[in-house]
């Protein structure tokens, strides 16, 4: 009964460039906290752009996932594709192997 009915989970386009995000300040804190440095100004500018996009993404995630806290992490200067390529590594498959042993069903009422 307490499940939500309908709720707006994405912000309007106006929110995406909200100056209150203070992206430059957050980026400086991020670099200091995670010891990040970039080899050229171009790289720095590119990473800042990615970081800004990830702040917006964190806000979207926060709206979609309100019981967790989303924000800046050590991965905030990576695009989703870079993040997947570098830090994930499950060779995905859609089904379990047909010859896999199936765990016996356990009693759960005691």
């Amino acid at each position: 009964k307490s499940e939500p009915l309908i709720r707006q989970v994405v912000g309007g386009a106006d929110n995406l460039n909200d100056p209150r995000l203070g992206a430059e300040h957050h980026f400086e804190l991020f670099k200091r906290r995670f010891g990040k440095s970039y080899k050229s100004q171009e790289e720095h500018d590119h990473r800042f752009k990615v970081f800004r996009a990830n702040l917006r993404r964190a806000r979207r995630h926060q709206s979609l996932d309100p019981s967790a806290t989303h924000g800046v992490t050590q991965f905030s200067d990576l695009t989703p594709a870079e993040f997947r390529r570098t830090f994930l590594g499950l060779r995905s498959r859609l089904r379990l192997p047909s010859d896999a042993n199936k765990a016996p069903i356990l009693p759960t009422d005691s």
Binding site: S67, T69, H70, R85, T86, G89, L90
Partner: protein
């Protein structure tokens, strides 16, 4: 089943590790499950070598041509259990330390095996069965969609929408009954997930994800492993 259960409180979970910039999550999920199973079998918690899996495990999935465990380029926990079964077991972390790179050469020394797989099996999609298996058999190797994990800082993750396309291997170490979900105005039960991105990520390296709806595919690929019981 108990309403709350956490293998960390019972000494079956090693410290959080860090895979670095290497797609070797599958090896950490595998060692975590075997570390727990070995604890149950022997009473000793021994940290096991991921690098052995990264360097030496090239086990292929018989049903998907070209899909083989491939170090930093990815792998699958069930294939890694299969490798471990065939190789005889895994070495200790300090005997074969993690470098987070594909070195190409396997330095496995069979005489230094400290944990061996007796058998492994897949757990059905039923959440009660998953809970029963974690309580009875120890931490479980699970796969998950990690899209929300890139920005996760803490709390119980319970996204309204999350893809079930599995892309990350982690370890399910227990569950809780009372993670507060403010928007739903009620306590939500959750799984406790050990990740391999270091202690500075998430809640000291851990992730909480709510139970009940196969959120982010967390119930889809769950494996339990048993270790060989040793007398020493």
């Amino acid at each position: 089943l108990p309403t709350d259960f956490d293998w960390r409180d019972r000494g079956a979970v090693a410290a959080v590790k860090n895979q670095g910039a290497c797609g070797s999550c599958w090896s950490f999920s595998t060692t975590g499950a075997l570390e727990g199973a070995n604890f149950l079998a022997t009473g000793k918690l021994v940290s096991l070598s991921e690098q052995q899996l990264v360097d030496c495990d090239h086990e292929c999935d018989p049903e998907e041509p070209g899909s083989c465990d491939s170090g930093c380029n990815g792998g699958l926990m069930n294939s890694a259990f299969e490798y471990t079964l065939k190789a005889g077991g895994l070495m200790r972390e300090e005997d074969y330390p993690y470098t987070g790179t594909d070195r190409g050469t396997c330095k496995f020394d069979k005489s230094k095996i400290v944990a061996s797989v007796a058998n492994f099996s897949v757990v059905s999609l039923d959440e009660e069965q998953i809970a029963a298996n974690v309580v009875k058999n120890g931490p479980l190797a699970v796969a998950i969609n990690a899209v929300f994990m890139q920005t996760y800082v803490g709390g119980v993750s319970c996204p309204y929408i999350c893809s079930k396309r599995l892309d990350h291997g982690v370890l399910l170490v227990g569950y809780g009954s009372a993670g507060y979900a403010p928007i739903r105005m009620k306590e939500k039960s959750y799984w406790i997930i050990k990740n391999s991105w270091g202690e500075n990520w998430g809640e000291n390296g851990y992730y909480k994800i709510c139970r009940g709806r196969n959120i982010c595919g967390v119930d889809s690929m769950v494996s339990t492993v048993a270790a060989v019981q040793t007398t020493s």
